[in-house]
Structure formats: C-alpha cells, structure tokens
Amino acid sequence: MALTIISLIKQVPLPTEMRMGDDGLMDRTKAKSIINIDCQFGLEAGLQLKKQYPDAKLIVCSMGPQSFEVALKTAISMGYDEAYLLSDRKLGGSDTYATGLAIATMLKHLGFSKDSKEPFIVLAGRQTSDGDTAHVPSQVAENLGIPQATFVETVKADGEGNVIAKRIIEGGYQMMKLPMPCTISLTPTGIPPRKPSLVGAIKARSTKVTVFGIDDIGLGTEKIGLGGSPTIVAGVVNIVSERAPIIMSEGHNENTLVNSLVSNFGKGANVLEKKEAAEKKTSEKPEFPLYDNRNGAKGIITWAEVTNGSISRPSIELLTPARHLADQLGNDTKIMTVLIGKNIHSLTQTLFEHGSDEVIVVDDARLEEYLVLPFSSIIAQIIKERKPEIALFAATTAGRELAPRIGVKTGSGVTADCTGLEIGEYVNRKDKVINKPILHSRRPTYGESKLATILGFVYPQISTARAGTFEVPAKVEGRSGIVSEFKPTIDKKEFSVEILKTVRGEGNSVNLFDADIIIAGGRGTTGDGLELIKKLAETLKEKGVKAEWACSRVVVDEGFSEYARQVGQTGKTVRPKVYVGVGISGAIQHIAGMKESEKIIAIDRNPKASIFHFADFGIVGEYQDILPELIERVKGGFTFGIEPSKN
C-alpha cells in the first residue's frame, strides 16, 4: 500500500511582537514570513506518520503568491518529498469557501479524491494566524467528500488502514478512528515541528516546486477569486489595543518584587487613552433602489450542542444574538433551534425559556455523541427544507468544523468566531442596488489586531459566535414554543468515523464564573503539583474573598487538575475582577479564555512570555519564590483590592 501524506500549509507574516516598554508596538520583523504555526504542527504530524509508514510519500501543497515557495522549500528541508503551489492572480480575493474549493480541486488534479485507489491523508493546521477561521480543512474535506477530524493534537496509524486521532474538545478530548482517505487539522499543542536538517536544506535547494495556475487544474474563474466567493470583507478597522502597557515589578529578590507589585497595584494599572474612532467616511450614499435578495429565505436557525446531557453554555449564549437579529429583522422572524441527540426531548424547555421559538428535534440513538459527518448532513437537510436566512453556531470545536462543512453543502460562506452580529445593508455599486437586509458579521482577525466586517450573499448566511462574548439570555420561566420532529436520511457512510473514547470532565463542580479572583497555574507551576497556586487561592478565601484556582490546558492534560478548572478556548471563558496567571506562557488559546478579566497579573520566569503582552502587572521570577511571598502579603491583608465580604 503506497500511502501519500499531503500537508497543506500557508505562509503568513510573522506575528509582530509587542515591546514590553511603554512605547507600544515595535515591528522589527516586518516583511518576515513564516509557515503558519498550526501548519508547522501539521507538517510534523506527517513526519511522525512517516515513522510508521517508512515508504509513505510526503507532499506539501499551498495556495498563494510565488513567494510561498520559501515555505514549501522549508517543508522539503524538514523531510518532505514534493511541493506543489497553486498560484494565480485570479485567485486573489478568494474567501475560505473559494480557497477550500481551489485546494480540493488541486488535490483532485493530483489524483486524490474519495475514489482514489491508493490511501492518502490530508494534514493541515487548525487555523492560520492571519485568518483565524479554521474553515479550510473542513471545506477541503467536504469538497473531496472524505471524513475529517479537526482540532487534533496527535495522529497515529493503527496499522489496519485507519488513523487514530486525538481530538481536543471542550473540557477534554476524544480518541477517534478515521478510515483513509481523510483530512486532519492539527492544533499547535501536539508535537512541535522539527528543525530543518542541513541535508534537507541542501535537497530543498535543488527541489523544484511545481506551480499550477487555475487553468492547469481545470478550475473555472466563476468559482474563485472575489467573484466566486460567497462572502466579502466589507470593512476592516484596527482594534486599538484593549489593554494599556503592562507595569512590570522591579526588584532584586522576591521580597522587593512583590513589594513593587503591591505598590503598583495600589496605584492602579496604566490607563489606555481611548482614541476616538477616526471620523467615519461619509461617502455619499448613492440613490440606488433597495433590493432584498433573500428570495424567500426567512428565519434564524441555531444549533444546540449537547454535552454531558445538557445544552452547552455557548449554545445558550447564541440565543442572545439570535434574538437581537430577529428583532432587527422584525416581520415576525422566528428562531428555530436544531437539537440532535439521544433522548433529548427534555432539553427543549431550556431552549424555549432562553428564547427559541421552535425546536427541531432529531432523536436517534446513533447520534448521542456529536460527529461532524452525520450532523452536517442533517443540519444541511433541515436548512434545505426550512430555508432560513441566517444560521448561527457557537464557535466551539464542534461548531467551527460543522459550520464550514455545512457551508460547502449549501454554497454559503461562513464567518468564523464573531464577536458582533448586526443586520445592516450593503451598497452594491456593481449592480446599482442596496442589498437590505443583510447580516454584518464582525470578527477579530490578524491576531486580534483588526476587526473585520464580513457579509455573505448566499442564503443562509452562516456565522459562528465566539463563546463567552454574548451573555446568557435571561430565562423566562414557563415560556414555550413549537417542538417539531425531523427525520433525516442518513447514509451509513456518515458513520465511517468511530469515536473510540470521550474524556470530558464534569463541568459544574467548580464555579469559576462567580469568582472575583482567579489564580491560574500553567505548565510552569506543576513542579509542586500546583500546591502554591491552591494555597494562594485558599489564603484569599480565608480572608473572605471569592477566590478560585484554575489552570491552563497542559495542567489538565498532565493530570494535575480536573477539566472544570481549565481556562481557555477549549475550557472556560472567565471575567473575574483579578486574574493572576502564574507560569503560563500565554498561548493564544489560553488568552482567549481570560483576556476579558478586569485586571490581569502575570508571573513567569521568562520575561518574553507572551502573557505579559496581555497583562496589567507583571513579575519576572520563579513561582516558588514569588508565591510564598505573595501568600504572606495576603495573610497580612493584601487582597488585590477586592473588599472581603463580611460573613
């Protein structure tokens, strides 16, 4: 069996580094490009599989300008055999939908499709640092018609033609068995990419990158570029840094460092001078006629994700923007919520009480655990029948792979990880009409430095909403709605992926959401099994402060904590008054879960740890030195400015 391992990579600008001083950003690496970090993990996953299949051929593919050859050559120097680049001016402006299609078309041209005789595995990064959508792997898989697993940390072959993937989910992980061919996207938490070898670099110099234009692979221009993309970027504004520059503690030992922190904390954090948003461009709005291009599509569909037998919090949060949009649309717009699972009728009431008008139930014993293939097929069937104008998903690990896969089925573009959803209009200068109403999906991009507004022109308009961004809607006791059953047709093939094991912690025993102070420990504090972290939280509690301890994902993985205490993209999103991160380097997944905290204190031995970019106060030092000192201060009455409750 000649296995081919295909890695999809993208070259991205090196994320700029923020200076720790007080004069803001310093872009000293401008024009430097790297292989997107997640894609590097995909490359390494391929090299790991090669250990199991020494005869496997490793090929690397990308789509982009000629300059991407540099990244492809780096992959060769790491151990890949062949490199292909899809490069064509006409691809400019492609959104993720068009990109997924173009890449899938290139792979088909190279002989890889669901009907291939020889097995293959497509590896990709979870998402790119300049797009952050995580769509393309799902869209490639759907276009190729093959199974997928996203948010995967490690992959292994089982020796019987299957791939065993460890997929990260909220509060845990799943072991999945996928048949070949399949697509796998890797998170940057697995095995870090290896360094190129000199012999590899020498080989890379003489290796020719095969460059295709769209004509070479038989891709029509109507499907790609700006014209072929179902979404457009209607506007991008800079997000002015949400946090003022950090105040670092100064001192020569733990005593003086903590003194400095206490004193700085008393004086308060740096305040960001909010610059008023630049004056709006008041370009003359032309007198075009209004045009409603919904073509009868009506209503908002949401998907309610079920975990541990109840509706997951982000799916309930989702009903807040859904209600807001329904109100803006008016005209008796309804919220229809899809509920899929086994014995789930009892959950409909929760959905009604939080705002769903109708719950479409698909009850099937085979659907107890979420699986992207049957779920995407079912929801696409419901969408075809109900013709909603908007479909919303929570941007969870499931929602973020489900939405783009459905999008390919319905021809819709998808806007990922939105923090704002509004109904607006679009001045369509080409067709000389004003499209109205239209969904404005706002999402942070470029490493949270810009806020883009994305519009979709194919119905339903699909968006995923970032967990923790919208409030849980107020519960209306006794509110009711319509329950309707849906009987989908599901092909047996949709169950080709098998979940071998699901590990998910109980989510409810600890209430991080109510704590005023959260003391979080990372990899750097596992030396004593988080004893000092727990002790600091305990000491605060003894002082009458609502404090809890929490941790980053690695800590949970290594068995030092239960999942319920995990903060981050696959854990909880928290907003305490004070967040103290200790020994946490500040991976973006963790930052996503804590950056809304009122005050952030970072303690880490590495002065270059990225968590310092997101903190108000910082101490560079060893946690074993700093925490005992801090605990003493708490005993002496320092409670981070939080009034102890008197009871």
Binding site: M20, R28, T29, P192, K195, S197, L198, K608
Partner: protein, 552 residues
C-alpha cells in the same frame, strides 16, 4: 552520498562572517580562473547572514577592492566616509579633545559601516559565484578520522533540556570535507577544540580578549553628522583598566556608541554593560543621544592578543581564519580588513591544495607563510607587544608603548607574555580597589531614556533561543563553582555577562544558587573567557538561535 544524513564537499567553511565569506569569494574566483569545478559549502549559525555580526565599525576599505576587483566600489554598502576623527579624554563629567591622534589610530580614508550589512552583501556576491551558503545551522562537532580533521557535523535538534531525544528529534548532518576552514569568529567553540587537540598554541602567547558592548540609536537631525568619529579614553575606566569608548555618526541620523573593555581587569564585580551605561551619562556622549531612541543592542568579545597570540593556523585538512585566528590590530581596534585578508590568503592556499589534491600540513603551511608576507604582518608585528604592555595598567602600558614606538615594536623587554584573562580576576577578599557598585553608585539607576538595565537592552538585540534544548552554557565543575566562583569571587559571571544569562539568586535563608537564563545569550563568549576556576564552556545552541542583529 552513502548516508542519508551526510553530505560531502570539497571545502567546508564554518562561519559566515567577513573572513569566511572572503575565503569563499576569493576561492570561487581562483577556481573559476583555473577552470576547476569544486563545491564550497559555507554554514552559518545565525538565522541569516549578518544576524550574529557585530562590530564598531570603522573599516579600512582598500582590501574590499582586492576581494571584489570587478565590483564598483560604491556598490558596497559602507555607511559614511570618516569626515571628522578625534580622540577624547573623559572624566566623569568632563572631556578634553586630544590635539593629536594616538599612533595607529588615525581613520582618514576609512568608512563607518554596519558589518552585518557588509556581510549580507558579501553573501550575495558569494552565492552569485556559486558558493552554497546555509544559514541557521549550528556546527557543534569536528569529525576526525585517523586523528585528522575530515569535516564537521551539525547539531542534533529535538532534544529537551535534560538531553533526552524528543519525538521531533532530528539527527545532525555530517559534512565530509577535504578541507575545513574555521571562520567562527571570536573564541570559536570548534576552533578552541581544534587548537587544544593539536596544541596549536604551543610556544605562543595565550589569547587575550576585550568585551565590546554597543548600542545603535536613532537621534534627532543635527545631533551628529554621518562620518563623525570619536574615540574616548578615561572615564568610566580607571588607570588599571584597558579600553575606551566610541561614537560613530552614521547615515539617516543613526549613531553607534559602544565601550570596549579589556577582560584582564581585576574587580570580580566589574560590569561592562553597566560601565557602558555610566559612560553614556558623560555630557560629551549624552549630547549625541539627546532626544534619540535606542534601536539595537549587542555585545561581542574581540581577540586582542595580537601577533604573539596567533596560534598555528593550520593542521592537516584544516585552516583557521579571521577572529578565530586572533587577527585584530591594536590599538587601531581593527580586524575586518585582516579577516578579509586572511580569508583571501586561506583561499589561495586552499586552491593550491585542491589543485594538487593534497590537504596535508605540507601544503597548508603556505597559508601561515603568506600571512607573514602580507599586510596582516605589517599591521600586527610593529604592535606585537602593545596589548600585553597594558596588563599592568595604563601608565605602565603607555610607557611600554612609548618604548615600542621607538624600537619598532620590540620595547626594552623583548616579547611580553600574556596571561589568561580569567586569571587576572581577584577574589572578593583579594581585590583592594573600590568595588564596581561603589565606584558607580550614582550611575546605576537606569532611567530607560538614556540608560538601560541589561534586560531591557537584551530585548533590543532580538535574541531568541528554543526553549527545548540543553543549555548551551555549561558550568564545567558545579562543585568547585559553588565553592570558588560563588563563595570566593561572588559569581563574577552575573556581572560580566553582557546579557543577563547568569543570575545569582539568594533566597530568604541566604542560600545562594546560580540560575542560568541561556535564552538571553548574545553569543559574546565572555563567560567562556573570564570565568575563574574551572570555568564555563560556551557551545553553540540550536541553529538560528541567538541575537537577531539588523545593523550592528
């Protein structure tokens, strides 16, 4: 290629600084003339050519015309031609311009430059001539067969800090070479091994070094003109310490400032970085920086032993060039032109060896002979005793230098010996002078406008090291280190290190331990040179790690 992890070449050059690049360029030219087709491989540990290059620099340009005869001289990215050149005597707050040039220190006709820029330019020329340059690879092992050098090997990667192989382990590549040229720069870690193994320092003086710390600033228009050059003597150094400062005006309102300090000083608490900060507060210096902004920081040692400290520069199948060979002319403080010259001479010898397919000492000896015939000899021989003369301080040194000037370099004592810099350091108890912190007690509060603490400066070097690797600085004997270096000397490494790699941590109970932050390392190698007792060994970290100098 017999092995998947090996590559063979005719010539391997380790290091992409001026000497290695000059070797490759000149050799490619000669081979072309002779119609020989040979492979030249040049490996550089920095992430790109120039990223580990630091020099003042004021450069003597003539040698570039020899190296690149076909190139329009104006194409070479020098900065500004020296327009004004003075030596200034400093006291803490005062200054006094010397009405004459110290002998050998005139810079008329020279150019200020970023040596990193020059190297990047030379690398493009070398590649045009067919030299294969690979940056971002660390060579950490010399390969031998039957006791002779047969090439070198790049470092294994994918190793955790305990030395255990990780899942992404990547074995280093063996490079089999007919002739290996060591061009690693100052205190080359492989050159050091080579010199020891073949006893190449036999009957020579040991090498002695200075540490240079440097900042590049962007300053308001008018602070200094391009090509304005100042060298300072005196403050912050005392009469027992050798060295001085420099201020070089560059184009685009940039200015390079730095302090170079001889490492044979006695005070175990001396801190060159902090002394440099104190130096900047002298009004003569601070006026150039007023209103400006720090752009870059870096540090590097330079070999100053001169003529008598040059080791034997060849052994079977190997040559040493440039700073690794100790080719720096004092007191002019110039090595770039000598590095290039040595590279060109090594290239001539290498071409001879390739033509005869004989790489034995018999053929390679021609290299050392040719140096004696070259400008290297002319620059170094008359000042052969200069630097050693200053080991007893400035006054004795000046007396020696005076007699050397009269006698053509011999002085009245004949050859002066040198002593390893680390042996000059005194214990806390022995040292009778005013300790560094007392000497500069009003100067060590850094305002982050004109003066910077080490950590902040380190940030401006762009330094980066992979977290997962064995620390590349190693305490040779932890037991004696605790007993001698910490107890008796007070851990001088925490002070002499230019980049806050070493931290002596004292806990509440008074227990002291040395913590190593290897990720800050600027690759200056001072710890390898100046640590008393059993010392510290500096070796190369993963390829592509280290500072990210742009214009140093």
């Amino acid at each position: 290629m017999s092995n998947v992890n090996s590559v063979s070449t005719d010539i391997l050059i380790i290091g992409g600084g001026p000497s290695g690049l000059a070797t490759s360029i000149h050799l490619a030219d000669i081979l072309k003339q002779k119609g020989l087709n040979k492979r030249i491989l040049l490996i550089e540990k920095g992430s790109s050519i120039g990223s580990h290059i630091l020099s003042g620099a004021v450069i003597k340009p003539e040698v570039f015309k020899e190296l690149l005869p076909d190139v329009d001289f104006n194409e070479i990215p020098f900065n500004a031609k020296v327009a004004k050149d003075s030596t200034v005597m400093l006291s803490e707050n005062g200054s006094f311009k010397l009405p004459f040039h110290v002998p050998y220190m005139s810079n008329a006709g020279n150019y200020t430059a970023s040596l990193g820029q020059i190297c990047r330019y030379l690398a493009t020329k070398a590649e045009e001539k067919g030299v294969e340059i690979y940056a971002g690879f660390a060579v950490d092992e010399i390969l031998y067969k039957d006791g002779k050098v047969t090439g070198a090997k790049t470092k294994d990667t994918g190793i955790d800090h305990h030395g255990k192989q990780m899942e992404n382990f990547q074995q280093g590549s063996s490079i089999e070479a007919k002739l290996t040229i060591f061009a690693e720069g100052t205190r080359g870690s492989l050159a050091k091994q080579l010199i020891q193994k073949f006893d190449l320092e036999k009957d020579k003086n040991c090498q002695i070094y200075s540490l240079g710390v440097k900042e590049v600033w962007s300053v308001p228009e008018g602070n200094i003109q391009p090509g304005e050059v100042y060298h300072t003597m005196g403050y912050p150094l005392n009469l027992k310490e050798f060295g001085g400062g420099f201020v070089y005006g560059l184009n685009d309102n940039k200015v390079a400032v730095g302090l170079v300090v001889g490492l044979e000083y006695e005070d175990p608490t001396f801190d060159a970085h902090d002394a440099f900060q104190a130096w900047k507060t002298n009004p003569f210096i601070s006026k150039f920086l007023k209103g400006g902004k720090l752009v870059e920081y870096g540090a590097k040692t330079l070999p100053e032993g001169g003529y008598y400290s040059i080791p034997k520069l060849y052994t079977d199948n190997a040559l040493i060039v440039g700073d690794s060979a100790g080719l720096v002319a004092m007191p002019a403080l110039k090595g770039v032109h000598l590095a290039i010259t040595s590279g060109m001479l090594a290239a001539k010898t290498a071409a001879l060896a390739l033509a005869t397919d004989d790489y034995s000492e018999k053929v390679l000896a021609a290299y050392e002979l040719s140096i004696k015939d070259s400008l290297i000899y002319k620059d170094l021989y008359p000042v052969r005793n200069f630097r050693q003369g200053f080991s007893k301080g400035l006054i004795v040194g000046a007396l020696h230098f005076g007699t050397q000037l009269i006698t053509g370099g011999a002085g009245f004592c004949g050859r002066l010996k040198s002593h390893p810099d680390k042996d000059a350091t005194k214990t806390l108890a022995e040292f009778k002078g005013k300790p560094f912190k007392e000497r500069f007690k009003d100067k060590l509060e850094f305002d982050k406008v004109l003066t910077f603490d080490k950590v902040t400066d380190v940030y401006f070097s762009g330094v980066n090291h992979d977290e997962q690797q064995v620390a590349h600085v190693k305490i040779n004997n932890p037991e004696s280190f605790a007993a001698i270096n910490i107890k008796q000397y007070g851990a001088p490494c925490q002070f002499f290190c230019s980049s806050e790699v070493y931290e002596l941590h004292t806990d509440k109970n008074g227990h002291q331990e040395l913590r190593i932050h290897a990720e800050n390392c600027m690759h200056c190698k001072t710890c390898d040179i100046k640590t008393p007792g059993d010392g510290i060994t500096w070796s190369v970290p993963n390829g592509g790690n280290g500072p990210e100098f742009q214009n140093m």
